[in-house]
Homo-oligomer: 425 residues x 2
């Protein structure tokens, strides 16, 4: 039915993703050939760690020398799954200069040095695909680049880090402590030995830089994304949220406001009725809002060798089936928008504070909020006497004014502890 075409691949890295890509190409070879006419062949695998090379590997398949791949004219596509930003950059750069198309799963590389790579891809008229860099098996890059072309995207909310979602889900259901659940997640393999990039929000920030760039056609780098992780989210926060009908999630938020872009990552209270509230465990989800489409959400496994490998293979097949130069070979950032300063971003907030239990306290606090135009959506007073607590949810308000109000509330004699604040989606 299709004209068959041999496509030889050079695979860089044979870790969790690399070995899954190799296995998947072997396993699905016949189906891909029948369905698309592409005869995929892994020609060479670069792996410098001899312990990762299977003892029964075909002779000559593995190499420790990138030159054997980049100088092999029979190799059409180079797939980079080694991670890191130095060698990976050099490899992709060299491969494109030698006329090879490239596929990468490397979010850190794209979020920090993507501009240079995309520029080179355009100059060399090469494909640079990266579906696996965000949200594993969820085809969010293809959907945003190709299907949302006339969607008028305004907002991208993402749960794009599986580790933090796993921890927060368990805190919510089991009412367990952050540190304990993190330790168990590490034992079970849901969190790295050094979990900093995940729990600190940097991993999610890199992914949101990539999604923000595509959504608004203007380059967002990791340095443009302000992020806060979940290390300071307490069981008490989670319990309060639950009591009020919310779930605490680490949310990546990319927004186009007027003609300015804001991309941030923060823990937030998500209303239980919001589709993102139902994303549990290590799953990922991306929620898109646009003038023309209303709201669309994609959810699925955000990591893991096998799901991520399906994204890499779909990129390879997509390249192999597009011989001419279309818009997918160009960087999608055809314009350069300004960023919205943090002070101008609007958010709704959750506030919890210990207050004196006496007449007039509420009026005092309300008057400070009023001064800064912070409007209260709902309020709950809990406990009595020394235990009195005030919980408030505000309407969306300029963050600068909000934090100024909080500073002033802190100074009130009726306020017995520093107010705890979290954003509300």
């Amino acid at each position: 039915m299709n004209r068959e075409r041999i496509v030889r691949i050079g695979l860089l890295g044979f870790g969790t993703i690399g070995s899954s890509v190799y296995r998947l190409i072997q396993q699905e070879h016949g189906q891909i050939l029948e369905g698309t006419g592409v005869d995929l062949q892994v020609a060479k695998i670069l792996e410098i760690d001899p312990r990762k090379v299977p003892p029964d590997a075909p002779a000559g398949l593995f190499t420790t020398d990138f030159v054997e791949i980049v100088d092999d004219p029979s190799i059409a596509i180079v797939v980079e799954v080694i991670g890191g930003t130095e060698a990976a950059f050099d490899f992709l750069d060299a491969a494109m200069r030698k006329g090879k198309d490239v596929v990468t799963a490397n979010k850190q590389l794209l979020a920090t040095r993507g501009q240079a790579l995309f520029t080179l891809a355009r100059e060399e008229r090469r494909h640079l695909r990266f579906e696996a860099s965000v949200a594993g098996a969820i085809p969010i890059i293809k959907v945003m680049r190709e299907s949302m072309i006339a969607a008028g995207l305004k907002t991208v909310y993402g749960i794009v880090n599986g580790t933090t979602n796993y921890i927060l889900t368990r805190m919510h259901h089991e009412e367990g402590d952050y540190a304990e659940i993190l330790a168990e997640a590490q034992r079970l393999g849901y969190a790295e030995a050094d979990p900093t990039a995940d729990v600190g929000g940097a991993d999610a920030a890199a992914k949101m830089a990539i999604l923000g760039s595509i959504a608004f056609h203007s380059r967002v780098t990791l340095a443009d994304v302000s992020y806060t992780g979940i290390q300071d989210v307490t069981l008490e926060d989670v319990r309060y949220a639950k009591g009020l009908g919310f779930v605490v999630k680490l949310i990546g938020a990319a927004r186009l406001i007027g003609n300015r872009v804001s991309v941030r990552v923060f823990p937030a209270l998500v209303p239980q009725s919001h589709p993102l509230a139902s994303i549990e465990g290590s799953n990922n989800a991306v929620f898109l809002q646009g003038d023309e489409i209303g709201e669309i959400m994609l959810m699925g496994p955000g990591a893991g060798g096998r799901p991520t490998a399906t994204a890499v293979v779909s990129d390879i097949v997509s390249i192999a089936n597009t011989k001419d130069v279309g818009f997918l070979q160009s960087c999608s950032c055809y314009r350069s928008l300004e960023f919205l300063p943090a002070s101008e971003v609007e958010s709704a907030f959750f506030i919890k504070m210990n207050v004196e239990d006496r007449a007039g306290v509420l009026a005092q606090i309300a008057s400070v909020f009023g001064e800064y135009s912070v409007s209260v959506a709902s309020m709950l007073q809990k406990g009595r006497g020394a235990e009195a607590e005030l919980v408030l949810i505000t309407h969306p308000t300029k963050e600068a004014g909000f934090f100024a109000a909080i500073e002033q509330v802190k100074g009130l004699s009726c306020c017995k502890s520093s107010p705890r604040t979290l954003r509300v989606l």
Copy 2:
């Protein structure tokens, strides 16, 4: 950045979708040109109803004669949004024979005469795209055809009819009667004056035929899909389901079992913890399960002029950017699998029956189920005396055996009414 290319379109039909496509192409013209290098121009619109032609339409834009479109060599892409299966077929057939690529939103046409159209598209080396035919703005066709190429898809569950989901959602939340809510849905425009195709399941069946064909690479036509609608779903069913932790949904289920295909549509009890349970109102969702990906779900608006138009426009841009012949120009059905006979399909069931309230009744019923290897997962007895009701949920079981058991239970003297059965997801 991109080489600009004029792409002239002939639009067939100026109803809800057609007028939205036209407006969207005008509105997003600049963005599409900058982002993809495609200069989209609507050259001609076929509309035979003069009342649908806007009084301020540019002279010469509208025509009542298809020949003006099909014989215009400057028109590269014909977009069919008139509906129906006779004229639409002839138009697409003629357009492809004249060397034009085609886009359609016509699920009935594809589900009944798709084979002939796809064969012609292959022979003529034309594109035939149909993203808008299923689930409106949700890009499920592209995701399944291009991203799930190595996913090992086994199951596709869809909520693909907005009208029925709207009715069932309201029955669930308001505990209102089917007939009353249908009448109100008609008043509000969520249901057609003649709602038969929606509430009877035929609309969902056509969409599941399309999704099943793509998922398993083997042609499924409307005639291959057995379907039951929601006309017989009672408020009592919905209440029982709710009490047991389920939501009643109209589910399209396409499954690959061994090497045989089963595609059906039926009302089912969906566990509240399942992602499909949270799909509310007129939204659509498609839940994919595959060996390599685990589970992925896409949700969003399933209908409406504006969301559906975004799918049509993304198809147009996709064609305009693919000049060579790749696998997307071929029918995805490269094999011909058998269908699983209804009797061999396995399902779990919900059963409710009025029974006599006396010792031994349970043993009698259990013994019949045992005979047919129907294993009970949970059981609930409600009421006493003349009001005694038995509610059971079975484990998945061969449907033939199940229905034979139910026939036999009907004949038992202790069974006071015909048992009510519904499938459980």
